[in-house]
Structure formats: C-alpha cells, structure tokens
C-alpha cells in the first residue's frame, strides 16, 4: 500500500518513473497545488519501497497491506 502526503508532494513523478512494478500512475485530476499526484495502480505494489527513497519530498510511505487491514 502506498500512502501519499499530498501536502509534501510537488509532482516530480520520479516515483512513477522509477517504480519497477509500474505500481504508480499520475492522477487524472489536478489537485489543489496544480499537479497530478501519483496514485496507486491496484495489486501491483510488492512493497520494495524504492518510491519512498527516491521521493525527494518525503511524501511517500509504503505500508504493509495486512498492517493496513488491521
């Protein structure tokens, strides 16, 4: 599960570009800041956490799925 802090995200899209599983894509709608923030593509993320590290803006957190369900 990928969580996005929209307040921190500046829309560089590096997470989308470098995700080895194509688990992120730009949102269709512009948000308040005028960017297309990343949204998760269902059932693609394997929790490698690369997007977390490559994000220059501390905007992404990868959380375990079952953790989320609990």
């Amino acid at each position: 599960m990928i969580e996005l802090n929209e307040e921190y995200c500046k829309g560089c899209n590096l997470c989308i570009v470098y995700c080895p599983r194509d688990a992120l894509e730009p949102a269709e709608e512009l948000n308040e800041k005028g960017i297309h923030p990343p949204v998760e593509v269902e059932d693609r993320c394997n929790g490698c956490r690369l997007c977390e590290l490559i994000c220059p803006d501390f905007a992404i957190t990868v959380v375990e799925k079952d953790e989320e369900e609990e």
Binding site: C12, V17, C55, P56, D57
Partner: protein, 291 residues
C-alpha cells in the same frame, strides 16, 4: 565519529517513523524545487543516522549559504546555519571544543569550493573529525543560476551566457589531495550506496567527504537543456561509472571502452585511509601538558 563497539541490529523501520523521529515537520514541505535532489540527500542522511544509531542530542549539523545549506533546518537537532562558505570553520570550533559531539556539515559546490575553498582544504588537511555532505549541482542555485567553480567548461549559466570559459574543480579529488581520510561520490538516483557511504563517513574518525551529485532542475537544467526531470536524473546515471569499473576498464578495457571513459564521472568510495584526527591529537596534547 564514535564508532559503535558492536554491530547494531537495524530493524526495518518505516519511512514514517524515520521522518517523525528526525524531521521538523513544522518546517515542511521543504523549499527545494520539483525534481531537485537535495531532499534525497537529506533522506539518505536520515537513514544513515538511523543505521548508525547516532544520539541526536549529541549531534550538531552545520551549513553555510545556498540551497543545500537550508538542510539542517529540517532536522530536529542542534544546528548552526552560518555565513557563506564558513561552515567548516564554525564546525572546527564545535568539534574541537567538544570532541564527543558528532559534527556533520551540509554544503554545496559554490559554498564549499568557491567562497569556502580555503576553509575546505584546511579542514581536510587537519583531518578534523567531521562529516561533510556536499551537494554538487554545478551551479549557484539559490541566487538564480550563476556559474560555479564546478560548472563544466562550456556549460551555460546566467553569468556565463556564452558558455563557461573556466575549467571546473573536482570536489572529491580536491578533498583527497587536501588530506581527507574518507572520500566518496554518488549520484542521488540510487539510494542505497549513498546511505551506506554516509554511514561509513560517520564512522570514520577523521575528515569524511561525501559528494552527492544532485540535479538542479530549475537553474541548471533550464539553461543547459537537460530535458524533463527524469531525463536529467537519467543523464546523471548515464554519465557516471563505478570507480571499480573505471579502474578495470583502464587496465583491461578495449580502446573503445577506454575512449568512453573520458566523458564519465567516477562514483564510489574514492579514498579511504586511517590517520589520527586533529581533535584526537589536541586531546592527547592536553593530557600530556595539563597542570
């Protein structure tokens, strides 16, 4: 830096935990432009701090002036945001006064190699026990894209509108020849090597220098037509070669491969040696002559 006696078991902690532990959230989001790599340098530093288990009550960050020098403000720690180029001289005073503190300096290519060049070479010469993390983006970013001592010859800047006429400094080579005892250079695109390298730098009891090549997506990219953010980030990756590979090709490579080396920037741990730090030597002197 104080080396841990036994290897610390690092639990896989979440990015959220790291951020909550180290960041000043009230200062966020940070000021860096979209696609700028300075935020990554901060992120990698935080991971290295966590892996090394440094006590943040006994750690001081310093910086000079420029984009990279805003970094200490985002970390919940004692910090000195000083004058342009002078952070290493301030850091020298901090470390010598209290050698038990972990002292880390963020600087940039203009801050460190331009106005602060003299302090830089002397801090290396003294092998003072501090860790310097230098963000090299080849340009003066904060002031709007003026030419830097690191700007490659021929590149464009607002004050080099016809192309840079001057040869560039290689920061890491300068650190090595000036006496630093741990020197590494990495690009921001690959997170793991810099994280490990910053951790090694923190462990080294002497002057450690980690050069982080980071794309300036506003001032440098626009003037030098580096393309989209991802094209610019990829350019850094394509432009670099691991120091080991560089050495191998130099020795055993084909002529074609050797030709290609000319345009490449070496990354990796470029230098490592053991030498007594100045802070240690001063302590020894005191023990010898104290009344």
């Amino acid at each position: 830096m104080e080396k841990k006696e036994e290897k610390r078991e690092v639990e896989m902690i979440s990015a959220k935990e790291i951020r909550d532990k180290y960041l000043r959230h009230d200062m966020m989001p940070h000021i860096f432009c979209t696609g700028c790599g300075i935020g990554n340098v901060l992120d990698y530093t935080l991971w290295a701090l966590e892996k090394e288990g440094l006590d943040m009550d006994k750690t001081v960050f310093l910086s000079g002036i420029g984009c990279s020098s805003r970094l200490p403000g985002y970390i919940d720690v004692d910090s000195l945001h000083t004058t342009h180029g002078r952070a290493l001289a301030f850091a020298t005073g901090v470390k010598i006064t209290n050698p038990e503190l972990n002292v880390i300096v963020f600087t940039g290519d203009g801050d460190c190699m331009g106005i602060g060049g003299n302090h830089f070479i002397h801090a290396c010469r003294r092998n003072i026990d501090i860790t310097v993390i230098a963000v090299n983006n080849y340009i003066y970013g904060m002031t709007g894209g003026q030419v830097a001592p690191t700007t490659p010859e021929g590149d464009y800047a607002t004050t080099a509108p016809y192309g840079n006429l001057e040869p560039a400094f290689d920061m890491s080579e300068m650190a090595i020849s000036s006496g630093a005892t741990y020197v590494a250079r990495w690009g921001v695109k690959r997170p793991n090597q810099p994280i490990n390298s910053i951790q090694e730098a923190l462990q080294n009891k002497g002057m450690s220098f980690v050069e982080m090549m980071s794309p300036c997506t506003t001032a440098y990219s626009r003037q030098n037509r580096m393309g989209s953010i991802e094209e610019f980030w990829d350019w850094y990756d394509n432009k670099t070669i691991l120091a080991e590979d560089h050495e191998r090709i130099k020795q055993y490579g084909s002529e074609e491969e050797k030709e290609e080396l000319k345009d490449k920037i070496k990354v990796g741990v470029l230098h490592k040696e053991e030498k007594k730090s100045l802070s240690e030597r001063i302590q020894e002197l005191i023990e010898e002559v104290q009344v």
